[in-house]
Each structure stands twice: as C-alpha cells, then as structure tokens.
C-alpha cells in the first residue's frame, strides 16, 4: 500500500516538474519570438515597453505587430495540443488527430468557398475568414459524427475513423476543384493557409480565440478522469460505471470546438495534434490529469517555436509554421515511434 502511494507521489512530482520545465521553456521561446523580426528588440527593451516605457516605435512594433501574433500562436498551440490529446483518448487510437474528424479538410473548404464566392462581402476578410473556416470545420465534424453514429451502439471509434477518411477525401476533392479555378495570388494565400501558417495578427483575433481556450481547456481538464476510463476499453469503462457514450460525445465536441477555433486562426497545422500528446505521454505517463497540461504546453512551445523559425530564418520570405513543424517534428516523432516495440 505504501509503495503504491509512493509511486503515485513520484509520478505526480514528475508531472509537476515536467510542466514547470515546459513553462520555463515556453517563456524563453516567447521572449525569443518577441525579439525576432525585421527590427530586433532585446528582452530588456521588451520588458520596458510592456510596462509602457518604450519609444513610440517600440510600442508600435510590440503591441500592434508582434504581441497579437504571438498570443494567437500560443493560444492555438494550447488548443491543438489539448484537442489532439482528447481525440486520442476518446478514440483509443494513438494516431488520431483533429484531421481524423475532417476539421482541417472542412476548414480548408470553408476558406476556399469564402475566397471563391464571397470575396466581395462587406467588412474586411480578417473577420470573415475565421467565421468561414470555423463553420466549415464544425459542419464537417458534425457530418462525420452523424454518419458514424449507430442508433443502438452509439459512436463507434473505428467507424468514426473510416468515415472520417472518406469524408476528408471527398472534401479535399471539392477543395481541389475549386482551388484550381483561383487566380495565382489568391491560390498562393490559400496554399499558405492550408500548409498551416499563423495568418491572424489582429487583437480582434486574440479576443475571438481567448474565450474558447480559457473556458474549454479547464473543462477538459475537469473531465480528465473520464479520459482515463476510455483507455480501459468500452466494456470495462461501462463496468466501472461511466456513461461511455455521453462522455465520449461531450469530450469529442470539446475537442472539435477547441481545434476548430485554433485552426481558424493558424491554418491547418496537423502534426502538433498528433505529436504533442505523444511526447507528453512519454514525459509524464499515461494519466490524463498529469499529461494534459504537458500536452498543452508542448503544443504551445512547438507551434510558437516553429512560427518563430519560419519567419526568422528564411527572411525576407517566410516558411509556413506547419512546414517547419513537420520538417523538424517529423523525424523526432519517427525516432520515438520506431524505438518502441509494437
């Protein structure tokens, strides 16, 4: 009995340590990110400016250009990381990511529909793009849910994945058909978005994304014991006394909302939703209560780091964060997976 207790405490301490370490890393990456750009700002100047003691130019750079973009990147990183963890937990499939629910495909279609047909809509595109992509993602996920739902047996994870593949393929086909008719510039913007680049950079976007993350992430954390139940398998989870179907649908809806909101701001960055939970699980163990914070922080660090690299190394051109993520994260992830036996 003592031993189990000691192991528990050890795990908890480890999880705390990992989270703390990741938090420090996140702050460092954030400072570096604030520092990089066409005009460099030293961390000290950043600090001064934050407290209102910078020059006008520094204030302009920091508050109007860098800070909103960085805040969006951080929030979206958290959202994607947590959504990936929830999807992997609920579907008991370690390869599930928001792409499985067709969110990326749907959001991409939303964008293409907007640039093809509604370009002339009143108001700036800064307002309408997130609206269209968000709706696209949610509608697609809903269609997949409905098609995967069995009246008697509820939501079956395996069917969810099969249906998801099919719908995503169909939507990509429509996206392709529409996108080939676009003119060159619009297409380049669309392709950049689809590759996953942080395009949102207004305070408006920060305020639009903030409530989703601030409200939904704690909600997911509060429901994390349910996620541990799913890991046991449906029968066992039912036996221990969980409303398997109800909690699964609730958690999946949360994941859909989180990733749709994030993807609407940073484009379809797929890899983080897959990799962040995996790495987090390796660092802190499989209990969701411990590894969810780590997954959130890892998502933040990876996305912010990738965005910083993408816009600093390839100046004056830039590389979308999504490309950087899979170019760097891919090999590492591959190494992790291949080292393990399965």
């Amino acid at each position: 009995m003592m031993d189990i207790h000691r192991v528990q405490v050890g795990k908890m301490r480890r999880a705390w340590l990992v989270s703390l370490l990741l938090l420090v890393v996140a702050v460092i990456v954030m400072l570096i990110s604030l520092n990089t750009g066409t005009i460099r700002l030293s961390p000290l100047r950043v600090l001064y400016t934050l407290f209102g003691m910078g020059t006008r130019q520094e204030q302009l750079i920091l508050f109007d250009y860098r800070l909103p973009r960085i805040l969006i990147t951080m929030l979206a990183g958290i959202g994607i990381g947590v959504a990936g963890a929830v999807l992997q937990g609920t579907s008991r499939n370690s390869l599930a990511d928001p792409g499985v629910l067709g969110i990326h495909a749907g959001a991409g279609l939303g964008l293409i529909v907007y640039v093809s047909f509604f370009r002339t809509l009143e108001g700036s595109s800064a307002i309408w793009i997130p609206v269209f992509t968000f709706v696209g993602g949610v509608v697609t996920a809903t269609i997949i849910f409905l098609l995967a739902y069995d009246r008697r047996r509820g939501l079956l994870p395996i069917r969810l994945i099969l249906v998801g593949i099919a719908i995503a393929a169909g939507i990509s086909a429509i996206t392709l058909l529409l996108s080939l008719r676009l003119d060159e510039d619009t297409y380049t913007f669309t392709a950049t978005w689809l590759a996953g680049s942080v395009w949102a950079r207004d305070w408006l976007h920060v305020w639009a994304l903030l409530p989703w993350i601030v409200l939904l992430v704690p909600w997911v954390y509060w429901r994390s014991p349910k996620l541990d139940l799913f890991a046991l398998g449906d029968e066992l989870a039912l036996g221990v006394g969980g409303y398997v179907n109800r909690s699964r649908i609730e958690l999946m809806l949360l994941a859909v909302a989180l990733s749709c909101a994030s993807v609407a701001m940073v484009g379809s960055i797929g890899f983080i939703g897959l990799a962040a939970p995996h790495i987090a699980r390796r660092l802190t163990g499989a209990k969701h209560q411990y590894f969810l914070p780590a997954a959130a922080l890892l998502g933040l660090v990876i996305l912010l780091g990738a965005d910083t690299i993408g816009r600093s190394i390839f100046q004056p051109n830039f590389i979308p964060a999504g490309v950087v993520v899979s170019a760097i994260g891919g090999p590492y992830f591959l190494y992790l997976l291949l080292k393990s036996r399965f």
């Binding site: 249906v163 719908i167 393929a169 990509s172 392709l176 392709a191 950049t192 170019a327």
Partner: protein, 336 residues
Amino acid sequence: MVRRYNRTLKLTGWFVAATAGLLLSVFFAVSYGAKELTLPAVWSAVFHYDAASTADQIIYNLRLPRVLGAVLTGMAFAVAGAIMQGVTRNPMADTGILGINAGSSLVVALSFAFLPALSYTGLMALSFVGAALATLLIVVLGAATPGGLSSMKLTVAGAIIAAMLHSLSTGVALYYDLSQDLAFWYAGGVGGIGWNQLKLLAPIILLTILWTITLGRPITFLSLGEESAVNLGVRVRLIKVLAMTAVVILAGVSVSAAGAISFIGLVVPHMARRLIGVDYRVVIPFSALLGAILLVWADLASRMVQPPREFAIGAMVAIVGVPFFLVLARREGREL
C-alpha cells in the same frame, strides 16, 4: 463438384462482363468528348487510319492514347491497392501509406523549381525515382527497428513520412511560387499521355500485373494472417518484399504518369472482393479490369462536365468513390 462448377461459371461470367464493360467504356470514351464522333468513325480511325481526316487525327493522336493511358493507370492503381490491402491486412491501406504520392510530389516540386525545362518523360522518370525512394525509406526505417517490419509499424511510419514529405513539397512550392503548378500536377490527369509515354507504360504495367497474379496464392494466405501463412508454407518476408516491389513499380509508374489519384486503389479492391470473393488470384485481375473501367469513366466525366475545360480527374474519382466508400465504412463498422 457442382458447387465448384457453379463458382467457376460465376467467375467466368463476372470476367466476361467486366471485359465487355471495359471495351464498351473505351469505345464510349473515345467517341465522346469536346467533339463528338460516331462509333463507325472510331472504328475506321482505328482500323483504317487516314492521316488526312481530322476525325481520324483526333481519335488516333489525342483520344486513343489518353483513354489507353486511363486504362493502364487505372489497372495499375487498382492492383497496387489490392496487393497492399492483402499484404498489410488493413482494409484502409492504399499506396499513399507507402509514401508514393508524397515522394513523387516532392520530387516534382523540386524539379519544377530547379529544372523547369524538363520534358514530360523526364518528369515521369524523376517522379518515379522519388516514389521509389520514399517507399524504400519507409520500409528500411520500419525494418531497422526492434520487432521488425510489422504491418502496424509500416502504417505509422508511412503516415508520418508521407505527411513530412508532403509538407516539405508544399514548402518548396510556396517558397518558389509554384504552388498552383504543383496543384495541377497533383490533381492528376491522363491528358498528357501520348503514344511515346504509352510505349513506356504498357509493357511495364502489363508485365508487372501478370507477375503479381502469380503471387496471388501466397498473398491470399498472407491476407488470412501471418501465422497461418507461415503454417501454410509461405515465405512471408520474401513475399512481402516481392509484393512491395510490385506495388512500387505499379503505383510509382502511374503516379508519375497521371498524378496522385490513388483513391482508386482504395475503393476498387473492396468492390472486387465483394463481387468475387477473397482469392487474390482472381481479385487481382478483376480489380485491374474494374479499376480500368472506373478511371476511363472518370476521365470521360472530367472532360464532359464543362467542355472544352477539363476537371481534375483525381477529384472526379474521389467524388464517385466517396459515397461508395461511406457505405462500406458503415458496414465495416457494424461488423467490427
């Protein structure tokens, strides 16, 4: 005895029907298009070619090679998909997880960027090399780890490497401002196939398909599970390597000729198995026929929707294939 006789009769019936369907589809596809031509005109163009007549020229130089190209690539994708699904015992496996599409699209992006003057045949050769290298990378990485090349590991490694290569090629395309050119290539199409390319494609694809039919028996055993295959005397590793080689040749060649339309390889084998059972000695040739028919119709549709513009054939295949696949997915879900 009677049952066996019935089964043979049924198989023969299906094969005759599919062959007839293919021939009919080819004739249809050759005669309809931006300019409509009658069946007798097609007949005379093929068998009494007259260089002076415009109709004969359209048929002989433009339509016939592209329709034959659709037949060949359709066959190749379908057979490659059937083999993949049999060997990995994963009903969702298609040639995408061997990195074939992603590998060739990266090489195509690179050659658009650095070798813009490359000929169509040269591009084909390079993209085939890209496909083969990507597959080799995946297989070697999977096999070099503890536990060997399990089907699960192949799937995971394939998905990750494919995602990586895909996003690298997006990066290259965006950096060099080529993304739409690449999208056109990726969308696929058999319109670029001429007699010169056919001379190259036909022997490779047809011979490889004939060869894979001889692998049908061990692949059937493998599809029952690795352990039973070993008990039945199948040399699992050898068969896997041979089957992968065949898949790379078939899918690599057709991706390089027609773009990434491997969805056909996912759908057709399912259809074939439903119609004629799970014996890969017949599933492989039957998939070939079905795949050819499907792609010929997809090509015809892509030309007919809004002539003289052409739609992306890959999108056509997906639009036809997705509803079918959904029905299938629901059914598989019920059985699981």
